[in-house]
Symmetry: D2
Amino acid sequence: METFLPSDPDFESRVRASFAQQEMLTSLGAQIGLVRAGEVHLTAPYDASFTQQDGFLHAGIVTTLMDSACGYAAYSLMPGGSRVLTVEFKVNLLYPARGDGFRAEGCVIKAGRTLTVCEGKLFSIEKEKESLCAIMQATIICIQEKE
Amino acid sequence: METFLPSDPDFESRVRASFAQQEMLTSLGAQIGLVRAGEVHLTAPYDASFTQQDGFLHAGIVTTLMDSACGYAAYSLMPGGSRVLTVEFKVNLLYPARGDGFRAEGCVIKAGRTLTVCEGKLFSIEKEKESLCAIMQATIICIQEKE
Amino acid sequence: METFLPSDPDFESRVRASFAQQEMLTSLGAQIGLVRAGEVHLTAPYDASFTQQDGFLHAGIVTTLMDSACGYAAYSLMPGGSRVLTVEFKVNLLYPARGDGFRAEGCVIKAGRTLTVCEGKLFSIEKEKESLCAIMQATIICIQEKE
Amino acid sequence: METFLPSDPDFESRVRASFAQQEMLTSLGAQIGLVRAGEVHLTAPYDASFTQQDGFLHAGIVTTLMDSACGYAAYSLMPGGSRVLTVEFKVNLLYPARGDGFRAEGCVIKAGRTLTVCEGKLFSIEKEKESLCAIMQATIICIQEKE
């Protein structure tokens, strides 16, 4: 994986502060793990409130976790004072999302001034064993506050 | 739009019964509206518990609503006794998802024996005015119970 | 479909001039048809040089035609002096691309200052009957010459 | 990367034979490189006949190379006597595709009985230096001859 130089030395506290403002992630009981320049990890417990008809985590929640990890991975490389929005993403669901909990990884593939491309992965965790259950390819945009 | 002939005359009650089993949709306060062969509509209220850092509905919830509408549109054309799973989807977020509530539409573009391709749309509703805020292109698979 | 106001009254000649510069489209024998603000159509004959192992038009050429139609639909709404590049697209292949010829449609769904979202369709033409054989959802970027 | 066990010991000759039947790949001057279970590499020279308005390789040809690499990576794991078709893909174009030549990699992420999910990459080659210029996430289907 490429190594990225963050333009804002305070990127980690900025990412963690934004994370804390997302009601959605609080509702999911999500926690932020690794935060480094261009890569962010999240975890969330299994919660029956967010399941589909077979009792698996809903594809939309699988997406929420990967999108948030990707968005923050992109945001870690953006200048201070900027905002981050997802432009689009594509998700392949590989295996049913069941287990005790889940871990999402977001990694920057290309960081541009305006657009950043990320890859996301969701792992289900069952008895401490992780299995890849979904992948994402996403485009994220940096909005400069002054625009 | 193409007109589809359902293989199961009881498709509507089957779709509504499956909808009622999704804890996720209950948590969102979602309600199923139109159910016809190849097309399903859902609505959900704005709920601050499911928002991102700017107070807009989280992209993952925008996805949840469109994916559910697409999945049920596909399921409406599947034979009785089959199960439905999403293979993959791609979402473009056009405008921030804010408003009093939201309406998702899922429509079948091509119905195959195994794979069905759908298009989804999410509209935000503000003072009874609807605005398109996201679109989806999705692939859904039919799992025959006997397989 | 939404009606778009072009910012450049000369958009049609600008689109046709750019089309004529694409070696790829010349190699395919593609021709530009309808050009209006936010919508462009192309046609191309069947050519065995561009087929996959079963004799159908290769998915990459199906993509070429839809991407070009979408790119020019987006370009029709951009200011004079700007350049257009595709950021990303997603394609669903619905039916094998066989026939006497093909017609691609690109339509703008949302036109932004920087990013434009388009939908593309590819129809195969056999004995004057058109059948939808692929769909695209694409994001296009406007590059201002002065940047 | 995961290691896959091919179900057909003759997968390599089957992949190479199918490659040789694609008129499209012949037209591009593409050559098949590495063929192993779950991974296939292709190369192609720069050819001005397949360029867009700025002289870069057209996005549709970038797609052709990645789609073919992904399709053959999936096909390498399919049983003898089966056919392979692309269901859908999503491509992010990271950098303009210019250079002396190009190399595409396709890797299987999940191999299923019916559907296989692959990741593709396109590298441009300039003075022997490779740069990643596009990525793909694709779904491929196995058609059993007897079906």
